[in-house]
Amino acid sequence: MSDILIDIQQLTFSRGERVIYRDLNMQFVRGKVTAIMGPSGIGKTTLLRLIGGQLKPDSGHILFAGEDIPKLSRSALYAARQRMSMLFQSGALFTDMTVFDNVAFPIREHTRLSESLIRLIVLMKLEAVGLRGARDLMPAELSGGMARRAALARAIALDPELIMYDEPFAGQDPISMGVIVRLIRSLNNALNLTSVVVSHDVTEVMSIADYVYVVAEQTVIGHGTPEQLRAHPSPLVQQFLKGEADGAVPFHYKAAPYEQELMELVG
């Protein structure tokens, strides 16, 4: 078995006229936590959807355990998806089911285990995220942080090989942030998962990732272990890590010069 679970080669993807990625190359090593960092709106969520096969690239390869995701047939894609799992930015819990049923959902869909066994597994997963007591609540009764953790329990219900986290730290208080950071790390080690974490929270990411890709301007601008990145020569990477608004990467969405627009308004 090769060491690389996901291998993205020469990926190009655009939304209408707008190119999101051009010739993107990335590798995710089995059993490691790999982080993708980049400014907001750069296409990080889009990349996860590409890996999950929900979007099709214009060109390039996305190899998941040797299979090229964009070329898979529908049934092969669904089989591949059973081996991966994704934690959405919003959690995406099913609002018409209790927390328990949400976590049980993938198990009931894909296995024929008895209810008592399902109960055992669900409680185990809920215990892992600290929500065993919340099993009978509806998603509307959870706080944002609890919903994220419930969604995490559902994401690991079937022991996937790969788990993709979309902005797991956004909108979390410092305590649940710490809890989630430790959860990602310990799940990765305990279940022997491969984790992909998408985020722009530099400190948290640098503390848990084994390897980091920094994405900007349609491609990877720097990659390496956290230590390597801190010493990275590129001013772009340094600007992003230090969080400076002015630098090589523009903070503003592409627009006409501000003075010009003001002048036009004044007439």
């Binding site: 998806r81 995406a92 099913f94 609002t95 959902f105 869909e109 894909h110």
Partner: protein, 260 residues
């Protein structure tokens, strides 16, 4: 100017055709393939309850009132010709052929159709559909298909219930209140209503309307722009589009069944 208008017209047409295509693909994806009885059956039962059983009250009440109004209006005309014994067939035929299927479809579109659009639109907006897809569960089969079948099964039944209650309402006004002969009400109805021509055609209409209403409602939700305005627009569109489509198809079907 004219070129602009033409261009708009063309763009609008292309958009509509595209929408049609997407709606077709959605339905195709939902209904194709062998159904999984073990998982599908409980989902269908649940939707039959949500879509069908919960629509019962509005159907019963409306059916009763429509039947009563029909009898009242019919009586005032028939009595002038001394033909009030024909009240039974008048009420029964109006309900079986037209009002039962059509009014049920309109009420159903407002009560269940709009709810389905909003529900699915919101599922899309909150990434529940995407999430399901990533869990290797096809939302077309899991969400769309059971709702579609539940609607198609329950609407003809609701239309029959509507008609039956309407006939009782007609009896209430015609016989119990206005004094038309009770035996005559039923026997004239029996003599003038044809099982195939009237009852079956009404059921066929109802099935066609059910297909239309469910298809539009599901597609509007599935295709909704995943924002609050998008969902509110989609819900409105469902009610408007289904109502117009039902009325238009009613004319076509009536012309085919009873015209000429």
């Amino acid at each position: 100017m004219i070129a602009d208008k033409l261009q708009q017209l063309g763009a609008g047409t292309i958009n509509n055709v595209r929408g049609f295509g997407r709606a077709g693909i959605m339905l195709f994806g939902a209904l194709l393939g062998k159904p999984d009885i073990r998982k599908g059956f409980p989902l269908l039962i649940k939707q039959l309850y949500v879509i069908g059983v919960l629509s019962l009250l509005i159907i019963l009440v409306s059916g009763l009132f429509i039947g009563m109004v029909l009898a009242l209006q019919g009586y005032t005309v028939l009595v002038k010709f001394g033909a009030e014994q024909m009240l039974g067939p008048l009420v029964a035929l109006s309900l079986l052929r037209e009002l039962g299927p059509v009014v049920t479809a309109l009420l159903f579109a407002g009560r269940a159709g709009s709810a389905i659009t909003a529900e699915i639109g919101l599922m899309k907006a909150t990434e529940q559909l995407s999430g399901m897809e990533m869990m290797a569960v096809d939302p077309l089969r899991r969400i769309i298909a059971p709702r579609f079948w539940a609607g198609v099964i329950s609407m003809p039944l609701l239309a029959l219930i509507f008609t039956a209650v309407g006939i009782l309402g007609g009896h209430l006004v015609g016989v119990d209140w206005l004094g038309v002969d009770g035996g005559g009400y039923w026997s004239a109805m029996q003599a003038n209503v044809d099982l195939y021509q009237d009852v079956m055609n009404g059921v066929i209409k109802s099935v066609v309307f059910a297909l239309i209403v469910m298809w539009i409602a599901l597609h509007k939700g599935y295709d909704a722009v995943p924002t609050s305005e998008g969902i509110s627009q989609a819900t409105t569109q469902t009610v408007v589009t289904t109502s117009l489509a039902v009325l238009a198809f009613d004319f076509i079907l009536t012309a085919l069944m009873f015209g000429g």
